[in-house]
């Protein structure tokens, strides 16, 4: 039996990988990666393969998301939104602008 755990641990720690993106989304939204996996409709094996993909290229973001979704039979729209949202969170964190993130949440809650 070969465990991909070591690979996944590295991938989660590396922002180049979707593992990192999915983890960022799940953690920020207060859900488990297991719950995210189920919502994406992945088997554990497919989720592992998905997490080991690198982040879609900015120059062909939509096409790359589509290709990933087709390969793993996922909802491209859902995947697109998750990645975009995680990217926005990462960008805010990188800018150290946690107040802006909180303000954005407040506005969304008011709707």
């Amino acid at each position: 039996m070969t465990s991909f755990d070591a690979l996944l641990q590295h991938a989660v720690a590396n922002p180049r990988f979707l593992a990192h993106t999915l983890e960022t989304f799940a953690r920020t939204e207060g859900i488990s990666t297991e719950m995210l996996r189920l919502r994406l409709g992945c088997t554990p094996e497919t989720y592992t393969a998905l997490a080991l993909c690198t982040h879609p290229r900015p120059t062909q973001f939509a096409a790359d998301v589509d290709a990933i979704a087709v390969r793993f039979a996922l909802d491209a729209g859902l995947l697109f939104q998750i990645i975009r949202r995680a990217d926005a969170i990462a960008a805010l964190r990188a800018g150290g602008d946690s107040a802006a993130l909180m303000a954005a949440r407040d506005r969304e809650d008011e709707r």
Binding site: T2, S3, F4, D5, A6, L7, H10, N14, R16, F17, L18, T28, E29, G30, I31, S32, M35, L36, R39, G41, T43, E45, T46, T48, A49, L50, L52, C53, T54, H55, P56, R57, A62, D64, V65, D66, A67, I68, A69, V70, R71, F72, A73, L74, D75, A76, G77, L78, F80, Q81, I82, R85, R105, E108, D109, R111
Partner: protein, 239 residues
């Protein structure tokens, strides 16, 4: 009960919400391709080159394909070469090899060898380096314990830190290889160097490390000798 922190998350994760505004497409489940599992089969030489080209071009699926195709194979390969190595060391070595290639695809030159051969050499080199480092740590530990148990007086007045420094010096002297030379070795050369340092003499072991097992034994010997000579020359030049 898990609480979703934002309305956006609730919207994204609600299975009843079929429409995701601003998305390129909403539903692709009808386009079900065979999903590769982490137990995918080993690519041929040509498929390996194609996979590498996709990795170099930044195809986001290439890293996943690389890991799924080669991870189990490399674990089996290393386990066959080094049955004495524990599972953690094997997994760490293969993980490091694959992550290095994903992070820096240019470390592989397709003109020199197949992707599989490169990965085998690199993984073997990583494992041997890790095992050698573990042995050095163990030797330090044993030497330190022996010295402290015997109450040996050494320069430094018995200061434990001084004892460790003396041990480090001993190891470096035993290796007799400048760090710059070590750092300049390719993964294949590093694997051969480590085997040489361990006193390994079997052609078969070197051939495994270099991915040369498909060659006749005479060709294996030639290649191994060429690489050993190259390493020796480098060490001589540096000293």
């Amino acid at each position: 009960m898990v609480r979703l922190s934002t309305p956006a998350a609730r919207r994204i994760l609600d299975p009843r919400s079929p429409v995701h505004p601003g998305c390129p497409r909403t539903r692709l489940s009808s386009l079900r391709n065979p999903t590769p599992s982490p137990q995918a089969s080993l690519p041929s030489r040509e498929e390996g080159f194609a996979l590498y080209a996709r990795l170099r071009d930044g195809d986001p699926l290439a890293s996943s394909d690389l890991c799924c195709a080669y991870f189990p194979f490399l674990i089996r390969f290393l386990r066959g070469c080094h049955p004495e190595a524990d599972d953690d060391s094997l997994h760490d070595a293969v993980t490091r090899t694959l992550m290095d290639l994903i992070d820096r695809p240019t470390i592989y030159d397709p003109a020199r060898t197949s992707l599989q051969g490169f990965l085998q050499m690199a993984a073997r080199g990583d494992l041997l380096n890790a095992l050698a480092a573990a042995r050095r740590r163990a030797n330090h530990q044993v030497s330190f314990e022996r010295l402290t148990e015997a109450g040996t007086e050494i320069d430094g007045g018995g200061d434990p830190l001084a004892i460790v420094i003396v041990q480090d010096d001993d190891v470096a002297a035993a290796a007799r290889v400048p760090p710059a030379v070590r750092a300049g070795l390719s993964p294949a050369e590093a694997a051969v160097f480590t085997l040489m340092a361990e006193g390994e003499r079997r052609t078969e072991t070197y051939a495994h490390a270099l991915g040369l097992t498909h060659l006749p034994v005479s060709a294996q010997r030639r290649e191994i000798k060429r690489m050993k000579d190259r390493i020796k020359k480098r060490i001589e030049r540096a000293q």
